[in-house]
Amino acid sequence: MTSLSKKEPAGPLLEIEDLVVEFAGDEETVRAVDGAGYTVAPGETLGVVGESGSGKSVTAMSALGLIKPPGRVVSGRVVFDGSDLRAMPRRELRRLRGGRIAMIFQDPMTALNPVMSVGAQIGEALRLHRPGMSRAKARARAAELLALVGVPGAERRLKQYPHEFSGGMRQRAMIAMAIANDPDLLIADEPTTALDVTVQAQVLDLIRLTRRETGAATVLITHDLGVVAELADRVVVMYAGRVVEHGTVAAIFDSPRHPYTRGLLESLPSLDGEVGDLTPIPGSPPAPGEVAEGCAFAPRCAMVRDRCRVERPELVQSGTRRASACHFHHELAGEETDARA
């Protein structure tokens, strides 16, 4: 994969290449990520979409070295701003976490420590990366951050515990924590999935705002194509631990060149409608660990051919700044031109 960004000559901020992650189970080892990779340019927002179990979260988590036993990064490269994260000493990696790379998790109900006040948790994020910072100062800054993310009565709410916050407010606190140290890269793992629909829109607005404020590149992991359409510059589509297609939002949404992406888009009711529901693609993704020859999507694919069942398609360029892992991406590309003609 060559550099896909042209506005940043310095090269990508984050580069994940051929990542393989396995989870050692009781009976067998499950390969959750099987050679996935993507790049993120400084300041850009990358949407990573895929069903549950597609390995999209695990891939991003490896950027922070947060894969824990029984999970294990088997091979692959994870490079952040020129340095190899897999080879990095733990101390240095810790300095990156919550510093230059910050993370927002899916479920704000469980992602905050229930017995620590919200203020203390934001303060901790600050003080971990600024050893000289006094408690009082951290507190004042935490209040500022809470106010910034739109928590009313920030000063008073610092003392409160997560259970005294609503779901949306918790996610705001989570975002405050993430932007505390002005990160260069923000990884948001399903930031709105656990929230009510009305709150989802507010949190998305907030992410948009913080992105503008901090200028951080953002990896937005979601199963919701609507969110991607609204926020992302580029999209990576993952299926069964691999990247099946990537490209700009406009390109992918206009003319998907992988049957899976197509299916996803077709199952989307409308961009302004309800949350995109991915089930209308018949069948279900292979259980992790189910070793399949050929294309992993073949059993569910509408245009499957014999070749798909024996030969695994590689991710190849399909036009400018986009790639597809379908043997027949040319045909899909051809249809576009036909349709346009």
Binding site: F23, G25, D26, E27, E28, V30, A32, E51, S52, G53, S54, G55, K56, S57, V58, K68, P69, P70, G71, Q106, D107, E190, T193, A194, H223, D277, L278, T279, S284, P285, A287, P288, G289, E290
Partner: protein
């Protein structure tokens, strides 16, 4: 303690049901749960070792008459003798063979332990099934009682009961059954509640099946694996309680030998110092047996708990 599967495989399953993976838990289409449990148990070295030791202990007490002589035969010519070829573990103050007494004591301790644990499990299964099946007030009352019963130390209950109605093996079994049932009760209640919502149970209820039939045909089979685990651990607990009570002079009465009352005989500094063969064999026997049962119970628990050792 809640047993959570160690580390979620792949990524966290989303809250939305539509996105959940379809087929089977863990996606491992291997053998039956039972075969898998057996395999897991076999791989647990501590549990297998515990099983082997326990088997030996049981066999030795069963075959006691073949291996050793009369445990109550008094040999006044061989009093207070140390271990020798004739008396492997020496003799006690009345000239009785300590080896024979240790083996025969094992029969008593194992039997009382089994009976008491069985009592606790049966009572617990009944209360648990009733609690889970009927729910509501019945469930509330039973569980409250279980909480309170659990917080009373069994040894003290034995002590008070034995103190007032007089010590006996019956008192022992009743007291242990009375105070240890809530463990099994909770387990069975949980199983019952999860079963109650299943369709076939509802169908059975609709077709007029009564509670007794449900308990026998459905709840007991489903609860068997977890109850086996608690039952095994209850045996360890019961052996411990029996020996403790007998040690305090509140359990098995002399001259019948029990591991506990053999140690009671050694409650005297001179005997402790000069005749260690009197108290080491029964003490080691208790420790080894209870430890073995606990290892087996632990291994069983890990084997039947999905996700294994957490």
């Amino acid at each position: 303690m809640t047993a959570m599967p160690a580390g979620a495989p792949a990524e966290k399953v989303s809250k939305k049901p539509s996105l959940e993976k379809g087929p089977g838990p863990g996606g491992a289409p291997s053998a039956s749960p039972r075969a898998r449990a057996v395999r897991r148990f076999r791989r647990n070295r501590l549990a297998v070792a515990g099983g082997a030791v326990l088997g030996t202990v049981v066999l030795m007490s069963l075959l006691a008459p073949l291996i050793a002589g009369d445990p109550n035969a008094v040999d006044l010519d061989a009093v207070r003798q140390g271990p020798s070829g004739a008396h492997w573990f020496g003799t006690d103050t009345s000239g009785r063979d300590v080896f024979a007494r240790t083996l025969y004591a094992g029969r008593v301790s194992l039997l009382v332990g089994l009976a008491a644990a069985l009592g606790a499990v049966v009572v617990g299964t009944l209360f648990g099934a009733v609690s889970g099946l009927f729910g509501g007030v019945v469930d509330n009352v039973i569980m409250r009682i279980a909480d309170i019963v659990m917080s009373f130390p069994t040894v003290v209950v034995i002590l008070v009961l034995a103190g007032i109605v007089g010590p006996s093996v019956t008192v022992l079994i009743v007291a242990i059954g009375m105070t240890q049932w809530p463990v099994a009760g909770r387990v069975v209640r949980g199983v019952t509640m999860s079963l109650r919502d299943r369709e076939y149970i509802q169908a059975a209820e609709a077709s007029g099946a009564n509670a007794r039939w449900l308990i026998r045909k459905h709840i007991v089979p489903a609860a068997l694996p977890p109850v086996t685990v608690t039952g095994t651990l209850a045996v360890a607990q019961a052996i411990m309680l029996e020996t403790t009570a007998s040690f305090l002079g509140l359990g098995v009465r002399p001259p019948q030998a029990s591991w506990g009352n053999m140690l009671n005989d050694a409650q005297n500094l001179t005997l402790i110092q000069t005749m260690p063969w009197l108290w080491i064999p029964p003490g080691v026997a208790i420790a080894v047996t209870v430890l073995a049962v606990n290892f087996v119970g632990d291994g069983l628990r890990d084997a039947v708990t999905p996700g294994g050792r957490t």
